[in-house]
Symmetry: C2
């Protein structure tokens, strides 16, 4: 295991230092671990705050900016942000119209965001939340009661971010965020384990001839192991799982997401298979993303996230966005 | 070595199929291996064509679109495109104002683009070329006479693409492209080897405790091997090499580029060190890119590319661009 780092203990701080240096439109408090839009708070605009463990970059800090998140609070590697951190992020961006917390469904995240929301409420801030639980792989798992929150988090942040940018009230942003969750499903497959810097070794052992089906974004176990197969067969496993839970129909927003260590050429190969599968079911890829967006450190593998679009969601997806890692239309 | 592929023989075709499915603004001839803008040819606009071996994604096909390349011709993995392919790409986008070929300095690429240019000239097309040779690591290497062409290729394609989009004539686009080459330098470091799918094993062996300094983007040898060190020390090695060749001064465009298998969190750590180094020399990072842009399949590692900006180049860099992997301002 080789890492391009200075010290396992300073990984998050060092990366935030780089993020700040690279993106003048962001403000970064490396000490407090908060990243926010330089133009926040915007009076009268609903603010979006998300956060979670680090190691999933660009999620979440790479999605802070116009049309998406107002702030992100990155925890240590694979570790929930602490409540004080969430409160600090919320305070920094609250423009008086309320704040929506976007929470991935992990026990620690849920607990810390809930506690933070109570503290914010005591200070008079209006805080709502949406819980993302799109991963169909397992019910209950290491770190999670119920389904895990993975790739759909990006969809929620983008689409609810567009609603907020358009000036909608908190209840409306919350409603739309919930609609995205209800319409989204994910499934991930690992070819290799990730390795946490402080651990200094791979999180789990995966033989050279096997893959883990239904992997979590922290290397949590999936449904089962299986022999390494073609991109076509692996895409079919992922899509069978998604389709079995929420039948593919109509216009879809589809992300083929790399887990951090898989090169783009392979992700396009997987996307070709996913698109063909969807076409075979009579549905259509109307919008797509291919790349490393919701990662698991250096893990090799991919996940597929599908969202059933309607006219409203399509328009919100297409709305301008200007963040370090998602940019278009402006 | 695990790959998310169907077959080692169909990697390029399968990835191009995915690229076509994901990006409706592109046209892709999977058979002929040509990717071009759906709106090409544009009458009266100088067209930019680049190409080279596959395995460096998103370079080049991910940079086809408004404000950048008009066409790309991807060869097999780490293999130059054949002359017919370059001719086909040139024909498809020639709008009568001439075509600029952007060529990375590798013997095969140079030879095949030169032959293609002759064939194009015989057909009455006006073709000019720019040779990118930014890598300061080595003089002459496997595949190359002189310096290798690496990360600066992205800078040339973006900046010359903006000139062409603005309606400049071929001579002007060629001049600006040459200015970018003259002002740009790169240096790369590998933590691990890449593995070519058809080979089925890593290209070279690199012990768990060592890195390769001055690596090429096909895994060609660099200057030397050294013990694995901190991001700070590795960044200093890269920057010393760049600074020793073209002293850092004034406003710089800086890319910290991942080799394909290095996650974004590590690239931001490296960027923080590169930025601090540059500041220490009294120069300034005026514009930056952090991410996987000019890759070497699944290699772990990074490269730094620096370009000395002036007002003209800064304005051209900032101009709108709309491609699969580089997008802003529109």
């Amino acid at each position: 295991m080789k890492k391009l780092i200075n010290d396992a203990e300073s990984v998050v701080a060092d990366a935030l230092t780089g993020l700040a240096a690279a993106h003048p439109a962001l403000r970064v408090d490396v000490e407090a671990r908060v990243v926010w839009r330089a133009d926040a708070p915007r009076v009268g605009k609903v603010a979006l705050v998300s956060g979670g463990g680090s190691g999933h970059e660009p999620l979440h800090a790479g999605f802070v900016g116009y049309g998406m998140l107002d702030a992100a609070c990155p925890g240590e590697i694979f570790t929930s942000p602490v409540p004080d951190q969430v409160v600090a992020a919320t305070e920094r961006v609250d423009g008086g119209a309320g704040v929506l917390h976007v929470i991935k469904n992990y026990t620690g995240d849920v607990m810390n965001f809930e506690l933070a929301a109570e503290l914010c409420a005591q200070q008079g801030m209006a805080v709502a939340s949406v819980l993302v639980d799109d991963d169909v792989a397992v019910q209950d798992s290491l770190y999670t009661a119920g389904r895990r929150g993975t790739g759909a988090t990006l969809f929620v942040e983008k689409i609810a971010g567009a609603v907020a940018e358009a000036g909608a009230p908190l209840a409306e942003a919350t409603r739309v965020a919930g609609a995205v969750v209800a319409r989204s499903r994910s499934f991930g497959i690992a070819l290799t384990s990730c390795a946490v810097p402080a651990a200094g070794k791979p999180t789990f052992d995966l033989p050279e001839t096997e893959v883990e089906l239904g992997i979590g974004i922290h290397g949590e176990p999936g449904r089962t192991r299986a022999p390494l197969a073609s991109a076509r067969d692996l895409a079919a496993v992922a899509m069978d799982a998604v389709h079995g839970d929420l039948p593919l129909a109509g216009d879809l927003l589809v992300m083929v997401n790399g887990m951090g260590g898989t090169p783009l050429i392979e992700l396009y190969i997987a996307f070709a298979e996913v698109e063909a599968y969807i076409r075979g079911k009579g549905a259509r890829v109307a919008r797509s993303l291919v790349g490393n967006y919701v990662t698991s450190l250096d893990m090799q593998g991919f996940s597929v996230t599908v969202c059933q679009l309607d006219d409203e969601l399509t328009e919100l997806w297409d709305a301008p966005v200007q963040t370090p890692s998602l940019r278009w239309g402006r």
